[in-house]
């Protein structure tokens, strides 16, 4: 019986094998226009949410693109790149014993280099199982003078 030499691709503990790549995991994304959701609403799953497959060495801009495809590009009036997305992840803090949140960063869909567009998920401190809360705001393109 021959075994193929492969390494465990658990997204929590193992490093990504360049031949295999990082393992995608499911992220629960709660979204709201112009404002943020309350932490308890996010944890109680009261507000609208979508499910997205992401991976740890994914940038915030790439995550924003997946979110935009499911939320913004479904209607014609919102199908344009002039949007700004503010991310934060919500988790239950074991040490404090209460729900907590942490800001991940902001991205603009029309320019991946603006703000924290190139910041990786693993650099934000997020772990598999944390929920993401996104605040979607309009952001107009400004011409360079």
């Amino acid at each position: 019986m021959s075994f193929t030499p492969s390494r465990s691709q658990s997204p929590v503990s193992s490093e990504s094998d360049p031949a295999v790549g990082p393992c995608p995991f499911l992220i629960q994304v709660y979204h709201q226009f112009h404002t943020r959701n309350h932490i308890l609403d996010v944890l109680d799953d009261v507000v609208p949410s979508i499910e997205i497959y992401g991976w740890m060495n994914m940038s915030l801009y790439e995550l924003g693109v997946f979110i935009a495809e499911k939320i913004l590009f479904q209607q014609e009036d919102t199908k344009h790149p002039e949007w700004m997305l503010q991310f934060r992840f919500v988790f239950h803090d074991r040490f404090k014993g209460r729900p907590s949140s942490r800001d991940m960063g902001t991205i603009c869909l029309h320019n991946p280099k603006l703000f924290q567009g190139s910041k990786l998920l693993k650099a934000t401190g997020m772990k598999c199982g944390d929920r993401i809360d996104v605040c979607i705001k309009p952001n107009k393109i400004r011409l360079r003078k």
Partner: protein
């Protein structure tokens, strides 16, 4: 005797009252041309004075009339000049107003052209940004599909990806099959 002498003296030296009577009579020169009694005494002194005031007055009147006409002509000439200046000023103001209107129109046209150009550039930027976004989305979906051929999926809903440390032969076959289908 004395009374007669006094009477004579009085006659020789006529009083002022008689002079007045005589000056009044001197005005009516044409009527009393023949009478010499009045002229001998009264006309000697005031005769030049009678001629001078009348001529002076006439000349003064004529001079005054001349001056008046000259002044009139002067005033008319000044009025004409003012009206000319008024006309010129009005013409200048009209020209200025026309020029200002033209400049304003040109500025408006320029601004509208710049605005149109800016909107065109913005629309172009939006189009380019949207195309880039769609390309990025396409690339990300392809990356996700590649990972589907590398990782196994659970049968539960929602499906989760996993890959054991050691793959079973059946699992390896399944992954190879998925890879071949995608290729």
């Amino acid at each position: 005797m004395d009374g007669k002498e006094n009477k004579i003296v009085k006659e020789e030296h006529p009083s002022k009252e008689n002079d007045q009577v005589q000056t009044n009579d001197s005005m009516d020169i044409d009527k009393n041309e023949g009478s010499t009694v009045h002229n001998d005494h009264a006309d000697k002194q005031p005769s030049d004075e009678r001629k001078e005031p009348t001529e002076n007055k006439r000349s003064k009147r004529m001079f005054g009339a001349l001056l008046g006409t000259l002044g009139k002509f002067q005033k008319e000439a000044e009025r004409e000049k003012q009206s000319e200046t008024r006309v010129r000023r009005a013409e200048l103001e009209k020209k200025l107003a026309k020029r200002q209107e033209e400049e304003r129109k040109e500025l408006d046209i320029q601004e509208s052209q710049e605005q149109e150009q800016r909107e065109k550039d913005l629309a172009q930027e939006r189009r380019v940004a949207m195309e880039d976004l769609e390309l990025d989305l396409k690339d990300l979906k392809q990356t996700l599909k590649k990972q589907e051929s590398t990782f196994l999926k659970t049968n539960t809903e929602p499906r989760l990806y996993y890959r054991p440390y050691y793959l079973l032969p059946s699992q390896k076959e399944y992954l190879d099959q998925v890879r071949e289908e995608k290729d």
